[in-house]
Each structure stands twice: as structure tokens, then as C-alpha cells.
Symmetry: C2
Subunit: 207 residues, 2 copies
């Protein structure tokens, strides 16, 4: 059985929603970032990277959201959340890489600036840029990377959708107005209408 | 025919080496970051993100190294550079996501800190952390993520290897001593012994 290591309200929401969407049998295991449990030996033995989410499988643990999401999609082919054909698959991976390495990183400078600088003034400087950077990401996604709907890749609901939903949560925390980006708002609303999303948000104490 | 948009000495080296490894028919198209060509309309029409590398295909342009590398691997199945089985594939994607979103981002704070902060003092602060952060990445890769060789995933040469080689180039620029990480040094030496690597390094003016 799969195990999802998650912290409430973290970016693990994406993988969590996808597990529900595909009807996976899985055990959710809470690792509270607020309590520092991601830095404790019990979790580091499972994921030496100390990052959330992580997915326990019969063959070992997988970390990094793009890898976890596509693995879940591959593991439940009947759910049909894997894009079809090499080019669409590459576009999906490109979107996830952007969300992971540009958008999530832009957001991480809000609370995790100490990864990249030391002085308090530097951290404040970084924090001051977060809303603009996420707004730039949203503008790029709206104009170039997200289909006209209903889903990120077009007609097909894919493993990218819970991750794009996660992006809308980073926008919310950074106080970027989603109404300025109609495709992203439609996508968020469509995700919020799905039972899997509502179930996971409730488990994370977010609704 | 595939088109590789690259800037000399950039992280496009990874995709470039892989194209040579698989024996691809492709056109290398130079987009000089030093000359700001990645911000000019001719390139932005191809890749609105304005980032290098980008891969032109018959169906459209693919951006983000993890997506480009796996697409090349899928496009040339006879080259055998795609890991076998869903778990190994997930591990490869996890490694690439880490190189893209943690290691490359750590390196980017050396020259591209203005993405995340404004003040000169903040940029200097960031620059001062780069070598330590890349050293931490190297320690993680050495201990947890890279196989004992000869290649990143073990016996099989995969699309991850040119990307791990790229990481060794970031270490070099950041003056992190690779000899402290024997697996990474062995990997770098093994990559440097391959004709594809030497050909691409010569095209980029790096040897």
C-alpha cells in the first residue's frame, strides 16, 4: 500500500488530492513541519531529504512532487490522468517543472529565505518580492502554459491539475489576486468543486 | 527535425550532450544569454518563458530540462537511456527535479539573485551562501541519490547522467571541491571520457 507523508497545509495537498482522484488505497502519515517532525530521525530514515511530500511504495520512497504525481498517475492507468503521447507528456512535465522550480521557489522565498541568505534584511528583501514574482508566474501560466480549460492540459483532467491548484494556494498566501488571472480562477473553482479536493482540504484543516 | 536552443556554457549542455548520446538528428540554434538574445522577440516567439534550453519539435517547443531530457530519451528508445519500470522512472524524475529545483536554484543565487531580491547587500548575502548550498547538495547526492556507479541510476546510462554532469559544472563555477565527493568525481570523469560530452564541451567553448 502507498504511504503519503504529508504536513497539513503544505504542498503535499497536490499529491494528496491526486491519490483521492485516482481512488488509490493509501495510508496518510502526518509529519508536522510546524513541530519539526520532517527533521526528526523517524522521517529522515524514510526520506533523507527531509522534505514533504514523500510517497512510500513497495520498492522505496519517492520524493519531489513532479515525480510523485506522475508515479501515482502511472500506477492507476484506469484513472486516465496521464497525458497521452510523448509531446503532451513533455508539456505536462514542463508545467510541473515550472511549478516546482520557478513558482514554488518564488513562493519559498516568503518563509524559507534562510535557505539562500543569512541577514534579516536580505530575508525581508526577499519577502518583499514574493507577491510580484508569483504574479509574474501567474501571468505566464495564464498567457502561455495553461489551456483554456477546463483543465491545465485542456479537456483531460491530468496529474498536473492538483499541482496547478496548489499554485493557487501559494497565490492566496502571498495575497496575489487570482481574479486578475481568469483561467487560473476558473481552474481553482473547478478544482474546489471536486469531492477529492474538498475531502483533502478538510483533512488538512483548510476548510 | 529537433532544434536545440542553447547558449554556450549554459545548462543547455545537459540536453545537448543527450542529443549527441542518442544520435539525434538536430539543429543547434545559438541564443546568446550574454548578448540578451533570450529576451529578444525572435526567441520569445519560440519560448515565451525566455529560458534556455528549449527544444523545438514538430509539435511545438518544450522547455525545462527535466521535460526536455525525458522527451529526448522517449524519442530515441533504441538508445536505451530511459530507466526501466515505473519506480526507476520515478527515481530518475525525482533526481532531475532535485537538480532543477534545489541544485540549479541554489546555483542561480550566484548570478541571478535579482530574481528574488533587490538590494545589492541581499545579492551579496545570497552569493555568500552558494558554495555551501551546492556543497550540501553534493553531500546529499553523494550519500543518498546517486548510485555507486558507474552512472547516476546504476549500471544503465540514462538521461539523468548529462544533467548530473551539469551539476558538476555548477560546483566548479562555485568553487566547490568535487574531490570531496568521490561518486560525483567518478561520474564526472566517466562523462568526460565520452565522445558526446567532449564534442559538446568543444561546441560550447568549454574545452
Amino acid at each position: 500500500m502507498l504511504e503519503l507523508y504529508y504536513s497539513k497545509g503544505s504542498s503535499a495537498v497536490a499529491a494528496h488530492v491526486l491519490l483521492e482522484e485516482v481512488g488509490a488505497t493509501y495510508e496518510p502519515i502526518e509529519v508536522s513541519i510546524a513541530k519539526g517532525e520532517h527533521r526528526m530521525p523517524a522521517f529522515l530514515r524514510r526520506n533523507p531529504k527531509g522534505r514533504i511530500p514523500a510517497l512510500g511504495t513497495a520498492e522505496g520512497v519517492i520524493s519531489e512532487s513532479p515525480a510523485i504525481l506522475e508515479y501515482i498517475a502511472q500506477s492507476y492507468p484506469d484513472a486516465g490522468v496521464q497525458p497521452r503521447g510523448p509531446f503532451k507528456q513533455a508539456q505536462a512535465r514542463s508545467l510541473c517543472a515550472y511549478l516546482c522550480a520557478t513558482a514554488h521557489v518564488a513562493f519559498a522565498h516568503k518563509h524559507r529565505g534562510a535557505r539562500w541568505a543569512v541577514a534579516e534584511a536580505s530575508l525581508r528583501d526577499m519577502q518583499g518580492r514574493v507577491a510580484q514574482n508569483l504574479s509574474d508566474c501567474a501571468a505566464y501560466l495564464q498567457k502561455e502554459a495553461v489551456a483554456s480549460g477546463p483543465w491545465a492540459m485542456g479537456e483531460q483532467f491530468t496529474y498536473c491539475d492538483p499541482y496547478l491548484f496548489q499554485f493557487s494556494r501559494w497565490m492566496e498566501v502571498a495575497e496575489v489576486e487570482i481574479a486578475d488571472f481568469p483561467k487560473l480562477q476558473m481552474h481553482r473553482d473547478a478544482m474546489l468543486a471536486r469531492p477529492a479536493t474538498r475531502k483533502v482540504l478538510a483533512m488538512h484543516g483548510l476548510i
